[in-house]
């Protein structure tokens, strides 16, 4: 009996915009000039927000903070692909999505300053709170996707996580269940190549993270995570497929964490400086600037205007955050349950 090949898989990589700002016109998504400029503005906003967060943390006004520096395209491209009715389950390094969707900046800073009320998002935004425990929100996204399908609500659910999360049991269980139950969910990994000090090559023996999806019966695709157009296109196609009943997709955005894991980390202790420098040349913001300039959509005056406007937005956010009064003692038990238990009521009385 000759051996048979039962299955073969091709892992696609999508790249549209090169580091010099040249675009592959055949793959270029249909985006009006105003949207291309808004993508740029959001990426500048994210970088400015991020830098301010680092400054606030150094001043002791924020707690430990995970910067997004270098990953702006992966976040903003994904956010642009979402419909307002889609649902988002973020981890902790995707505030670019919050900013793009219009989540109040004051509340983002409020959360990272240690006030959980910052997680109470505006009712019109379908964004769930940050999940800091690595990868543990993947099952929630599958559940929400199944609930949406049960409600006959034609939306998709997008869940975001990092490369480290792909080593968790939750990743396996959630991918498997999403495939088995054909859940309308899109798994988006920001593969920034470092889980604190563990490089992705030590995280897995697989050549790509994207290929893991095939084992669960659905497609995984790698996109250039520093190419906002490729991210947009890859995530949008996946979301469209999920909404149309085509089931889950895994989008691996290959990017790079330019900054430390968090403000409690010092990546210089474990990362070669040449590696960091090589990625600096692939800066996602610079790449988009070059592209917009070629299209006549960007010049120094426009950049200065955007930076000034974004600075004002962030300043206003910081001011608003600092005006929020701290929680009251009575808030201790307010949110633990629909009603406090007798013992909780007694503890509040005594505290």
């Amino acid at each position: 009996m000759p051996q048979e090949i039962l299955a073969t898989f091709n892992v696609r990589r999508l790249s549209i915009l090169d580091p010099d700002g040249n675009v592959d016109e055949a793959l270029m998504p249909e985006l009006p000039d105003a949207e291309l400029r808004r993508m740029y503005e959001m990426m500048v906003l994210l970088r400015t927000y991020d830098n301010r967060a680092l400054a606030l943390q150094r001043e002791g006004r924020l707690g430990t903070y995970p910067p997004s520096f270098g990953q702006e395209a992966a976040q903003i491209g994904s956010a642009f692909a979402l419909k307002p009715t889609d649902w988002v389950f973020p981890s902790f390094r995707e505030v670019g999505i919050h900013l793009t969707l219009g989540y109040p900046i004051a509340q983002l800073y409020q959360y990272w300053a240690g006030d959980e009320r910052g997680q109470r998002g505006p009712d019109h935004l379908n964004i769930f709170p940050f999940c800091v425990s690595v990868g543990t929100h993947l099952p929630h996204a599958v559940g929400a996707a199944l609930a949406a399908r049960y409600r006959k609500d034609p939306v998709a659910v997008a869940v975001f996580f990092g490369d480290g999360a792909t080593s968790k049991g939750d990743f396996h269980e959630a991918f498997n269940m999403a495939g088995a139950l054909n859940a309308p969910v899109v798994f988006v990994c920001q593969n920034n190549q470092w889980a604190i000090s563990i490089p992705v090559r030590e995280q897995t023996a697989a050549a790509t993270l994207a290929q893991k999806a095939f084992g669960y019966g659905f497609e995984g695709i790698q996109v250039d995570g520093n190419d906002v157009l490729a991210v947009y296109r890859g995530v949008k196609e996946a979301l469209d497929r999920a909404r149309d009943g085509g089931g889950p997709t895994f989008v691996e955005c290959l990017t790079y964490r330019m900054a430390d894991h968090t403000t409690a980390d010092d990546a210089a202790r474990y990362r070669p400086p040449e590696e960091v420098a090589s990625w600096r040349e692939r800066d996602p913001l610079l790449r988009l600037e070059r592209f917009l300039a070629r299209r006549g959509l960007w010049d120094e005056a426009y950049r200065n205007q955007v930076q000034e406007q974004v600075q004002q937005t962030v300043d206003a956010g910081v001011r608003a955050m600092e005006e929020i009064p701290p929680p009251e003692r009575s808030d201790l038990f307010t949110y633990t349950a629909a009603a406090p238990t007798p013992r909780q009521a007694a503890q509040l009385e005594e505290s």
Binding site: T136, P139, V142, L146, A147, D170, L181, Y335
Partner: protein, 328 residues
Amino acid sequence: MSEMTYRDALNLALKEEMRRDPRVITFGEDVALYEGSFKVTRGLLAEFGEDRVRDSPISENTIAGVAIGAAMGGMRPVAELMTINFALLAMDQLINHMAKVRYMFGGQVFLPMVVRMPSGGGSQLAAQHSQSLETYFMHCPGMRIAYPATPADAKGLLKTAIRDDNPVVFIEHEILYNSKGEVPEDPEFLVPFGVCNVMREGTDVTIVGYGRMAVLSLMAAAELEKEGISCEVIDLRTLNPLDEATFLKSAARTGRAVVVEECWRTAGLGADIACRIFENCFDRLLAPVKRVSGLDVPMPYSRKLEKLCIPSVAGIVEAVREVMAASY
């Protein structure tokens, strides 16, 4: 009222609530076509279809996680974990998410979900399949825990659990599934959380139990009546919220108390109950509170040895006699 088993009472509660509210869905391992490992979901697939009654892969953590996500997405899911022993695989979702989501998200998101889990020893299923882990859940704030002892409570507590806006861990005792009792037919029959059931009134000693331990306590009380000892038997019904007022009042009146717990004795929930009685009724107690507990060993496979590890009627009778004989 009609007589039915604890299993059928749970099944009826599920059916009634699924008929009442289309947001109630159920899923877990073998719950649909196979109708549950203990047949609690019998007939549900036929009546409600596969959209609402779903088999899931063997992924306990994700069964819990999917229930959380579905509850966030407007459903009222009832997840089944095959037994409480497998809940250990789901502890991250249950403790780190289910119990904390409302709190960490500032009250914006709440989880009207139930996780059902058969529990308890006595069926010779050995160390990994016979555990009583109720204390693990009771230790953590942010969830409700119901543990019915009778068929009527099985129905009434499960219906309350499904209608509750808090996440509920719903523990069912495997040996009680075939026990029979009168169950109200009224589809609006609910047993409120946080209210003990005084199963039997008495004047000499208070016995506090839950689940199968409450049933054994009632049998012990019948034995002790022959010796002229009048026992008040209190079933906790819900471990969270805990109705301490009822058992404290009883213990203060009788002056003697025995707490019966199926779990391991070390740091078991009986220690918390006994402590509450000591803290609140010390000057009314005529004798130290006594605990009857599971032995601090992994459950033996041997039937003979297993019996020694689980509280028994004889053990409760003996403990009550000792409490009656003791004094300060």
